[in-house]
Symmetry: D2
Subunit: 470 residues, 4 copies
């Protein structure tokens, strides 16, 4: 472990030694070593760099979305030297990545989630990660050379344009962006928002979901995914969306209009009508990444919480906060909730590793709902312990809360996942009913066999007409 | 799978195939097979037998605590034939058991928790399990022959007498039961309650915690554990305690007085002053057993819930309950919460397997708090779905709730575990503070290095004295 | 104030001086005096009598539902002497009562809710109260003389038979009990459960909801209410239902079968097809009574909680529980939640007083959902503070919890009220939408008027096609 | 009602007709009329003006805290014409105000809380309100003429400087700002933050809490309040604090340093050592104002929520959101929680009206904890219904959440109020214990009187020594 960690934390166990016992069989020695490197890199390089990052962005909206904080390139160079690059691409699905499993990368993503700059510094930042997976899995050679290579190399960035402001687009069948074939081109018309990353001047490619066949009887065959260079005429970034007052510059969340945007037909990914299939595959691992980064955020919030209650200058009513029972309960509950949530994510990652995102549908949905709630709860407790400092720029907590809050919305709001989980669970309902009925019947048979009345234990069988004689 | 399960549940996966992916590496093939047997035994034999069990107990208090429901012996014989016996004694700590790890038995305990009779039928019922562990680990040969052998054989039962009504005995240093040496004997005076199992006519031995040296400067050396035959003169079971109206007969929860109760000195376990050590070791695995049975109870509650919302006769406002969004959300949340909690228990079990209860202190404490809350929440949702039937004898739910509620109290109430967890976590607080401070300092150095002002992003530095000139 | 209260509580303010400031204008001087009498009667007579009551009931089911604890008649005589009788019948709706408003009686009901015997002792116990309201409001002279008079006098008791086991009867249109005209009689066939009070040997009259016209196109005209003497041939009380492990004897909750039960046609209340109207009117004030008794239960739980944390014998980790922050937070939250809930009930009572139950639909529904949750939460906290004593017969808490839990179910489960409240609230939705849209439009007009761009504050309007020139 | 309200909301009841029934006796006819005017002014003038307000502030930090959005003066002129001015100063305490009670103004404050500009537009904005109360109550003539008059007239604004960054200043005894007498002057040294309003260029006066006598044995006599003109040399506004990502410009939250800041001795308020007394009196009504504005915010959030679920364009899974049970439950719970919380605030306001802030200590503390939690919960539900729009600038919700979140912190964090409430409640604990013990004793006496055994209902009294003979 490095100086900073060693000096500050006597007895600090490196990340690899804090892997939950139940997950250890799934972690290779190489991954364990990389994990320790990631922790060191994040704690010693990235977190301090976060302070520079926010100051290298300008003040006006125009400035902020034209900036490219130099510290990022510095960190990227360091990360590459350390071999911390593209860890996200899972080994059993892609040869281009660093050769880790989803479980192994998940453990690393936890640490990346503690810093604002770490994911990008290691080329593991959304939405590039998902876009690279799409290109690696479904892209043709030309698409790979032109877009995947520079993305894998960290030379350019990308955006994923799915959400639309005017419809309930969490249900992808509602998408309205039109993609029409016209000769050797496709022409796009419509609007997208929450196009995250579109604010970055280095963002050169948009992965766009739209409808090529809106009248197809199979509503899951109407959609296609197409690649649109950012500088194609007809595209306007109207404005950037804020998240609780934060603009997340330079990355940003764009609201973008497409007016007769024409791209070569060869930019179609996988083929017309394959859009739904592509985004389904894309979202699974991405949700694990988000979830593990959220776990990291929650851990960071808890660290800040613990630091606060040990701050010698803060003694309400004459006692350090770590003597206040209300605070202690919150610390303990945070620890409990984070640890259980982490296991849920790791289990989901293993399910993906063992099959794929579809095979882990239930586990991913569970994590998608559970983790953001835990994360927000823990951050909120930390905010409260800090009082005014908690909501301000003096701690990272409020910003983490804002980001964490979006996790209950992006990639499908909680409610969609809850209903899908429930419907899936409900499929077992009739069988449960039959079994419970059969068990009851068998119990009655047993009563007879054992010579016990099947009557209720509070049996009365009192003829009311005769009750007065009691 | 058996007829009952196969017939009622098309496509039902046996238990071994529903082990969470992350836990699979820890489960031997033999354990997997046993697990499926346990499921089958519980679902097909024990749950139907529960109905007989409650009817084979009498009506008056006196009757109910003299009864020995014959169905239990029937089940025990079946279980023995199936090889489902003493699975709880962990292989790496005891040679007397069935040779499973805590993790493996934990998986089985989940199914045992679905039936009122299953734990006893397989000789895996508390408090015998903990008492057998104590005897196997700390008992001398004589003690083992006299008490452990018949316990392992299911011939007798036992009680564990720790809790006292007049003090906060969750803190064992408060215990007041006096054990005094007198020649070749020890003489006990005091009272105990929540002596679970003491109501059973087959309960022949009490494992009693008391103080042999109440003035010892080391307050963890004052306690001793001693074996007291149930029929020793001077012992009176004054009454049985109820749990939400249930008396849990014939097992029961006794309130017992000791008046000059004299036992041979050889009944002392391990030696005077070793009591604290013994109960610490005793509680760890027991908490895992409780927790996994609670997980099983929660699963059972969810099954009942699902059965209800598929009951064709129940159509409030013209729609089956499985079309009501409020119900679906509760189903989904239950699934999420149970699955995360189960992983937490399994992880704790592995920690015990890899070291011992002390090495898994944090994980056990987490589970001790988390699981009962999840269990109660899920049961409560199921009760609500059933309405009147939910609180009545027509479902097992209210009884399960009552039992589940005690789990927040027994073996130390939630609050004790929360505070201990927090204090343990808080040990890392000062180091976190130092690291966060160091990261802040390094961030400022980086700012200077990159030529960025270390000023706050909302820097103003406005001399108020000059503000009017703005 | 009496000796017991004065001696034990220095500075205890009588009930009338603890009425929330906002409710005082609604309380007459007479009611305030009666309120103080009620408090005194409950605290000094009823609560001590509760201990006798539970011991005057037998042990077997048959005994328990044949018993008539003599202490009740003793209390009734005392209550009558004190003028504490029939306070529930609201003055502006009935001349037969004690002349109080729903608000005034509500305040009294809070105190009645602190004792198991107090409501019956003052002839204010459900379901008699609702049945008396029905008879007083809708009964004909003959019905009043035969049934209302002895009920008002406390000579007999009654049951209200609405709920049915085989349907979702919280939606009254699902009721299946058949009431068929046959000459000068009506003949009833069907079954009912949760017929509370039917266990009492003094219960002489059943107020029964059934269908006289199951095919009526107006599904709210199919039902009728009819009076059925308990000893009419054809009635069988099959068994009593338990609530958690309590049978609530001798009152009880009956499961009753009707087989060709014939009563005179003159027993019809108000007329065929008026059943829905009758039960709607019946339920409103009853919900207020339940709610205020629940508030009283919550206050009692909090008193027990406070008593516990001041118990000198209970010092976990060396400190009285009232020094533990976790406990203090729970005390404070309980106080906050109870006080807010009480105001909600009192406001609903005033709405009924000012119009009727229909005019207070929203307020009653709110209270129906809110109060049981608060009550259960507070009781649960108190249970936890008591540990084992909390779930046992040594405190009234577990019994109170069981009763409180049914309040989320009886008279319509939470979910029915939540959905109805929401649908009612949703009626305002379109208007809100129109107004918000209009405000937005006006805001844009104002922007133009003030010469401010209507652009978004994070406006960018960057033509992506030209971005590379930045 | 105005066109906008009438046109958009068919059947909209004016505010005065929606006052909770229980509060009506406390509202004069004049207040009811003013209330309707306030509603109209807020809905028709202020809310549309909010859109202009945010656009009339600049982009850079320097610009934003030098701006004075002209629309504010426009609104102020309108408000004055309508007689909506200084409604906050309670009639029974101050002659300078509009002559309303705290309850009456509370009802108005609810509507002010729905708009960003409304409070300032009616000269009812914090911290001016509290500062004006301080000056009106404790200021001498000179102080009143110089500062109170222009404040009452809306010519200048003010800040209240209490909180300090380096200590737990929610406990005022920890304050470190030094105020030292030096001849005819006082000299201030120290720093303050969360000096809300200090960013406004019109803010001319700081009301500062500091210590004149830090060694006084009575720690509540160490503090004094002194008036400091904003342009006194030695004052530096170092920076502005953000709340989540919002800077709340031009109002702002300043971090201010005092270095040898010298003011005339006549600027002392009330006298040295009276500071604690002054701030105590100041905070009570202010908490009611905050609370009722929060209620208004919650109502607004619910309106937005309802508008969303009636948005015809949003049909996830083919159904309007108002058909989704999950959404309906949240609407209903929001309605329940808001209504109960409002009653709690109104009751607290009446307690202040009837005595003063000290007499309403309990009620204010309850509201201080309850209302922000309700408000945040409701806003969060609305955010979730809006998805991406909810966290962005397209709805006011995220900004309302940020503001609402600070309400759990300002004027003392939740935890301080919870502990104080609990300690106050706990004073009754010993008396409760004595009464419960006395009731138990009386119960036993009654048992004897009625010839019933005092034995436990689950009495056993089984001599274990003889059990084997059963």
């Amino acid at each position: 472990m490095s100086d900073l960690l060693v000096n500050s934390e006597k007895g600090h166990l490196p990340a690899s030694q804090r892997i939950p016992a139940i997950a250890k069989p799934f972690v290779s020695e190489r991954a364990a070593k990389t994990l320790d490197l990631v922790e060191k890199f994040v704690e010693e390089e990235c977190i301090p760099a976060d302070a520079v990052f926010v100051r290298q962005i300008g003040e006006t909206t125009e400035q902020r979305f034209s900036s490219h904080p130099p510290i990022i390139e510095d960190l990227k160079a360091k990360a590459k030297r350390l071999g911390l690059w593209n860890m996200f691409l899972p080994k059993n699905h892609f040869k281009e990545g660093a050769g880790f499993s989803n479980l192994e990368y998940g453990l690393m993503a936890e640490y990346l989630g503690k810093s604002r700059t770490a994911s990008e510094a290691t080329n593991c930042a959304a939405p590039d990660t998902g876009n690279m997976e799409v290109l690696a899995k479904y892209g043709n050679e030309q698409q790979k050379r032109r877009w995947l290579d520079p993305l894998l190399d960290g030379k350019i960035r990308s955006a994923f344009l799915m959400t639309e402001p005017q419809v309930a687009s969490s249900d992808a069948t509602n998408i309205e962006m039109r993609i029409e074939r016209d000769g050797d081109s496709y022409v796009l018309n419509g609007q997208k928002w929450w196009s995250s990353g579109a604010g970055d001047p280095r963002c050169e490619i948009y992965v766009v979901l739209g409808k090529t066949d809106p009248n197809n009887a199979d509503k899951y065959k109407q959609q296609s995914v197409i690649l649109v260079p950012h500088d194609t005429p007809g595209i306007t970034i109207n404005r950037m969306l804020s998240v609780f007052g934060y603009d997340d510059a330079p990355h940003g969340h764009g609201h973008i209009t497409f007016k007769n945007v024409r791209v070569p037909a060869t930019n179609m990914v996988l083929g017309e009508g394959r859009g739904f299939e592509i985004i389904q595959g894309r979202l699974g691992p991405g949700r694990i990444h988000h979830a593990m980064r959220s776990i990291g955020a929650a851990e960071k919030a808890l660290e800040w919480f613990l630091a606060r209650i040990n701050d010698e200058r803060k003694k309400p009513f004459g006692q350090l906060l770590n003597k206040h029972g209300i605070m202690l309960e919150r610390v303990a509950r945070s620890r409990i909730e984070i640890d259980a949530a982490r296991l849920a994510v790791l289990n989901a990652a293993i399910k993906i590793d063992e099959s794929n995102a579809k095979g882990a549908l239930k586990e991913i949905a569970e994590v998608k709902v559970l983790v953001p709630e835990v994360n927000l709860t823990v951050i909120d407790r930390a905010i409260q312990a800090y009082g005014g400092a908690g909501v301000s720029q003096d701690t990272p907590l409020a910003n983490m809360y804002a980001l964490g809050r979006t996790m209950r919305i992006v990639d499908g709001p909680d409610e969609v996942h809850l209903v899908q989980l429930a419907k899936n669970e409900n499929k077992r309902g009739p069988a449960h009913k039959r079994r419970l009925d059969a068990q009851k019947k068998k119990g009655e048979e047993l009563c007879r066999k054992f010579g016990v009345s099947t009557n209720d234990v509070l049996h009365l069988n009192r003829q009311s007409g005769k009750k007065s004689k009691l």
